[in-house]
Every structure is written in structure tokens, then in C-alpha cells.
């Protein structure tokens, strides 16, 4: 674990989905992610990986326990305050790219900036172009998302996640629909966002091989984090 103050931390977090038969999605999870860390969460389908990610991303609230963002307990924050945190401090990437089909590539990337309103229109466009260039998509800025390949779209989604220069990046199976070359490329991007730019990155994946490239791995089974005792932490255990 990093010795720096954590960006986001879960303290005894449990999430139970109500209904006729209540289901415990996340069970008593304690974890934290610091700046510069690249954390991979692995586990079988239905083990609660995505649910944990939604909780860390403040899209969902825990049934029990607390989620702290930047040291602040988020339980006391209203919907608008959580939305403001997501807007300015976090970036999401999902399994499906989730680009808005009505908007062009550039507008999709600029969307969070325009919502935040910190940059003028011209500034937002310039920044969006820069992000696209960084992800090797400079030539595709004026296209519509449906003219791009799956890997390209996912990189556009990453560019959008980076729009407001977030401290925390949360990705849910970002390579689930990609071929292995694209997947490796996407993971390289995440690794450099953490190692070179000091962002906290949490990636949910069931691809163990890719997960090995993270600085830390958490394994979930039945909603709980299990000690990953046996397999030795391979590369990059030292962190950033």
C-alpha cells in the first residue's frame, strides 16, 4: 500500500440489494487507493467487482460502512454534491464505450468540460484534441463514434474520462469487448496514467494476465476481498 493519503477509501462497506430475496453484493470491504496506484480488482462474474466500483465512484451508496473521498465521508453529501465530485474529480470507463451517438468524437470528449464550465468553448476543444492526440486518435476527432472500431471507441471513452483532469479513474471491464492487442494498449494507457501522472486508477477485470500489470491486485469472491496470498505479486509491486 502507498504511504500517501488515500484518494478513496472503503471502510467496512457492505451493499445489500433489497427485494424479495435480499442479495449481498459487497460484503464488509476495507480498501483504499492512493494517488499513483493502479489497482486491479479481479474475481469471477457476480463476485461484486462492479458493485464495489459503483460504490467507490459514488454512483451508489453503501448499505453499511463508509466511503471516504479525499478523507471526507460521502454519506453526508447530497446527490448534487456527489455529482459535482464525479464531474471534477473522477473519470469513468465502462465495458461498453457509452459514447453519445448524437455527438461527434470531439464533442463527446469535451462534454464533461462543458458541463464543468471551467474552460471556454475554444479551450475545451483544444484540450479535447490534445487528449485524443495522446490516445492516438487525433485523426478521428471529427468523426462520429459509429465510424470507429471498438478499441478506438474505448480510447475515446478514456479521453472523455480524462476530460476534467480527474484524480481518480474507475474502469469497469474496459477491455471486455476488445481484442488482445487493443486490450493491451488500453492497459498501457491506464498504467501510464497512474505511474506517470500520479492518478489513482481502479480497474475491474477478469483478465488475470492484464491484471498482473497493475501495481496492486485485489481479488473478490462472493462480495468480499480475499487475501491473494498464493500468487506472488509479479511486476511493479513497488508502486509509483
Amino acid at each position: 500500500m502507498s504511504d500517501r493519503a488515500p484518494i478513496v477509501a472503503a471502510r467496512g462497506v457492505t451493499r445489500v440489494l433489497g427485494g424479495a430475496v435480499p442479495a449481498t453484493l459487497v460484503r464488509d470491504v476495507d480498501m483504499e487507493v492512493a494517488a499513483g496506484e493502479f489497482v486491479a480488482v479481479t474475481g469471477p462474474s457476480g463476485s461484486g467487482k462492479s458493485s464495489l466500483l459503483y460504490l467507490l465512484g459514488l454512483l451508489d451508496r453503501p448499505t453499511r460502512g463508509r466511503v471516504l473521498f479525499d478523507g471526507v465521508d460521502t454519506a453526508g453529501l447530497g446527490g448534487d454534491a456527489l455529482a459535482a465530485l464525479r464531474l471534477a474529480r473522477m473519470g469513468f470507463v465502462f465495458q461498453f464505450h457509452f459514447l453519445l451517438p448524437e455527438l461527434g468524437v470531439l464533442d463527446n470528449v469535451a462534454l464533461p468540460m462543458r458541463r464543468l464550465g471551467r474552460l471556454a468553448a475554444a479551450g475545451a476543444e483544444a484540450r479535447a484534441l490534445g487528449l485524443l492526440a495522446r490516445l492516438g486518435l487525433a485523426d478521428h476527432a471529427r468523426k462520429s463514434p459509429d465510424q470507429l472500431s471498438g478499441g478506438q471507441r474505448q480510447r475515446v471513452a478514456i479521453a472523455r474520462a480524462l476530460a476534467n483532469d480527474p484524480v481518480l479513474i474507475l474502469a469497469d471491464e474496459p477491455t471486455g469487448n476488445l481484442d488482445s492487442a487493443s486490450a493491451r494498449l488500453v492497459f498501457d494507457v491506464f498504467a501510464s496514467l497512474a505511474a506517470e501522472e500520479g492518478r489513482a486508477v481502479v480497474v475491474v477485470t477478469h483478465d488475470e494476465e492484464l491484471a498482473r500489470r497493475a501495481t496492486r491486485r485485489l481479488r473478490m469472491v462472493d462480495g468480499a476481498i480475499v487475501p491473494s496470498g498464493a500468487p506472488p505479486a509479479g511486476t511493479g509491486a513497488a508502486g509509483a
Partner: protein, 415 residues
């Protein structure tokens, strides 16, 4: 807000056909609102203007609304219970008693002109034709002050009534029924048996059908002879500077003099009552069109919101608040409403212009040569406000549902 508008527009453009149908619904509602309102209000205002122009504003008649109190009732006082049986009205000669004094008193009031009349039923005979009419005995000088009879003459003059022994001025339709015109001599028969030879010296056309088909004017003195009611006046016709105040004024006159005083509103209550029903029918028809248009908007916004569930989730994960999402979908409804409103204004304007160009003759309460149309920005404002309110309401319901959707539920379903 601009961002929300852009997103709304972009999403709406993806649902072009439904959007166009919804816009057309609003367009029709607004267009017909304007056209029907112009037609109906034009006709109604025209009718009222003609009535105010042609008819006396208040008529004092030789009748009482309430029978006079009986001696027994007067003796017992107002709080006593008195039952009378076998009451019979006194058969007294009709007419306004002290008409001259009342007329003088009314004429002294500011903004009031008075003309005493005697009106009664007569038969006009010419050749083989016999037509019943209301003969009104007038004093031409006084009549000029209470009406525009002279202006409405299409032939002859009022002064000719003095020049000829038994002069008669007929409504145009009445003259046509008789086959008479200026210079025709016909016989004038009162209900008491008096028959005079009378000469048509003028023909008038007011445009109000009931007057033009059944009224004849003669000098007051001649009318008193034909109707066999010497020196009797049974009507005082009043003209007011403020016709809208006729109802109140009539009430005050009746209170003071006791005689039944009818304002033009009361005399035309049947027609004015029809106007109220007309308006009710019009507004409910238009309302129904706009409600249907509202369902169209509800449909398009609901469909978009349903299709866009994933996008709503992504917008929320990016950091859009509930109200931002609400704005995006509400604006879609309003965009439809605004587009429909503007097109509806154009449609309404065109329909009104088309109706205005039509020429035809109809004879109803009044005689018309085509539609009388009332054009006012008020109709545009009212129809626009109604259209926007309907659109906002129709879009608000699905928009609120979209705004409240839980992104995690959507994401769980999608991945």
C-alpha cells in the same frame, strides 16, 4: 443550459418522424385556435357593434317586471305571510304614464339621449300580399339622436315623413317581401280596424335581420292614429355615450320609474347566450386538439428517455445532476412545443387570410358578406401560451422519470 439544449436537439433529431408528428399536432392546435378565435370573435364583435350602432341601448317599456303589491300585502307588511287567491290583473290602457316627464328627466342626464315611440303590430298590404310588421311611431328629430336610422337609409329620407301625408319607412327585406319600393302606396291596417293608405318614402338596411324584415317607421302621430292609441307612448328609446354601461343604467332607470327597462344586452340575451356556448365549444375543441398534441409529445419524450437509458447513466456518471437530465428532456418537449407554436402561428395566419379573401352572402342574426374576422396578437399569445404549457406538462412527466433513474440499475442491466 446551452449544453442541455444542444443535447435535447441532438436527441430529438434522432427521432425525426415522431418529432415531426408531434410538432404537427401542436401546429394544428395552434393554427385552428387562431383561425376559429378570429372567426368567432370577429362575428361576435361585429354583431355587438352593429347592435350597439343600430339598436337603442336601453328601451323603457310600458310593462312591469313585478306585479304591483296588493293592498293586503301592503297592510300586512313585508315580513307577514299573505296568500292571495283569484288575483286578476287590472285591464288598464297600456302606455307609459307621464312619458313626457320621464323622457325629459332622462334627457337631462349627461350622456343620455331619449326618443319617445309608439310601437305596435300592423299589417301591410300591397296587392295580394299581406305582411305583419311592427310599426314604430317616431319623431325624426329625436330619432336622429338615439340611432343611426338616417345613415342606414338606402333610399329616401326621414324628412320625407313630414312631407307626405302618411309616409312610411320600411326595412329592406320587408319591402322586398311586399314587392314595394319608394313611392309605392300600400295600405296600413292596425289591429283595432283602422286602415290608412300610406306611401313608402324610404327604405333602410341595418344588417340586423330581425329589424330589416319586420320594422316600419312612421311619424309618432300617425302611428297613434293607426294603432288607435292617441297621445300614447309605449317606448322610450335611449342612447348612451357608454353602451357597456347599459345594463347598470337600465337597472337604475327601472328602479326609479318602475317601468321595465331593457338594456341591449338583455334584448339580445338569446344571441349573447349562444355566443357563450359557441366560445365554450370552441375552447373545448381546441383544448382537445392540444391535449392530443400533448400525448404526442409525451410519447416522443418517453420513447427517447427509454431509448436513452444508457446515455442517462453515462451522463450521471460524468457528473450531470438530476436537474440537468430533467432539463435535457423537458427541453425536447419545449422544442416540439415552440416549433409547433411557430408553425401554428403561420398556419393560423394563412387560414385567417384565406377566410378573409372569401366573399359570400349569408343571412343569420346579421347579414354578412363573408367572414368577419377579428385579428389580434392576443390570439397568438394565448394559443402560444397554451401550446407551451401543454408541451411542458407532457414532457415533464417522462423527463422527471428519466432524471430520477438510478444509473447503477441501468449499468447493472447493461453490463
Amino acid at each position: 443550459m446551452r449544453l442541455a439544449l444542444e443535447l435535447a436537439l441532438a436527441q430529438l433529431l434522432r427521432r425525426r418522424r415522431q418529432g415531426v408528428v408531434s410538432v404537427l399536432g401542436v401546429t394544428l392546435g395552434v393554427g385552428f385556435f387562431i383561425a376559429m378565435a378570429a372567426m368567432m370573435q370577429g362575428f361576435q364583435r361585429d354583431f355587438v357593434a352593429r347592435v350597439i350602432d343600430v339598436q337603442p341601448h336601453v328601451v323603457v317599456k310600458d310593462e312591469f317586471r313585478r306585479r304591483p303589491a296588493q293592498a293586503a300585502e301592503l297592510a300586512a307588511g313585508p315580513r307577514a305571510a299573505v296568500e292571495l287567491r283569484g288575483e286578476k290583473p287590472v285591464d288598464e290602457p297600456r302606455g307609459i304614464r307621464g312619458a313626457r316627464a320621464i323622457a325629459a328627466a332622462l334627457g337631462d342626464m349627461p350622456g343620455v339621449a331619449v326618443a319617445p315611440n309608439l310601437a305596435g303590430q300592423v299589417f301591410l298590404r300591397y296587392g295580394t300580399r299581406e305582411v305583419a310588421a311592427t310599426l314604430t311611431g317616431i319623431d325624426p328629430e329625436a330619432e336622429r339622436r338615439v340611432g343611426n336610422l338616417e345613415r342606414d337609409l338606402v333610399d329616401g329620407s326621414l324628412d320625407a315623413l313630414h312631407a307626405v301625408a302618411n309616409g312610411l319607412v320600411l326595412g329592406e327585406a320587408l319591402a322586398r317581401k311586399l314587392g314595394a319600393r319608394s313611392g309605392t302606396t300600400l295600405s296600413l291596417a292596425g289591429t283595432q280596424g283602422v286602415v290608412l293608405k300610406a306611401k313608402v318614402v324610404g327604405v333602410f338596411r341595418t344588417g340586423i335581420t330581425s329589424l330589416d324584415t319586420s320594422v316600419a317607421y312612421a311619424l309618432l302621430a300617425k302611428a297613434q292614429v293607426v294603432l288607435e292609441r292617441p297621445n300614447v307612448v309605449n317606448q322610450l328609446r335611449l342612447r348612451l355615450v357608454d353602451p357597456e354601461g347599459a345594463r347598470d343604467f337600465a337597472l337604475r332607470v327601472e328602479e326609479r320609474f318602475g317601468y321595465r327597462s331593457e338594456s341591449w344586452q338583455e334584448s339580445n340575451a338569446n344571441v349573447l347566450g349562444i355566443f357563450v356556448i359557441q366560445r365554450a365549444i370552441m375552447y373545448s375543441t381546441i383544448g382537445a386538439i392540444l391535449v392530443v398534441a400533448g400525448f404526442g409529445i409525451f410519447n416522443v419524450v418517453s420513447t427517447v428517455a427509454w431509448e436513452k437509458a444508457r446515455d442517462i447513466a453515462i451522463l450521471k456518471s460524468i457528473g450531470f445532476r438530476e436537474r440537468d437530465i430533467l432539463a435535457v428532456f423537458l427541453l425536447q418537449g419545449l422544442l416540439v412545443g415552440v416549433a409547433g407554436m411557430v408553425l401554428g402561428w403561420v398556419l393560423g395566419f394563412l387560414i385567417v387570410a384565406f377566410m378573409g379573401s372569401l366573399r359570400f352572402e349569408i343571412e343569420g342574426f346579421v347579414r354578412l358578406q363573408g367572414f368577419v374576422l377579428h385579428r389580434t396578437p392576443l390570439h397568438y399569445a394565448a394559443s402560444g401560451a397554451f401550446a407551451l404549457a401543454t408541451s411542458a406538462l407532457a414532457a415533464w412527466i417522462p423527463a422527471r422519470r428519466a432524471a430520477r433513474a438510478d444509473p447503477v440499475d441501468i449499468l447493472r442491466g447493461a453490463t
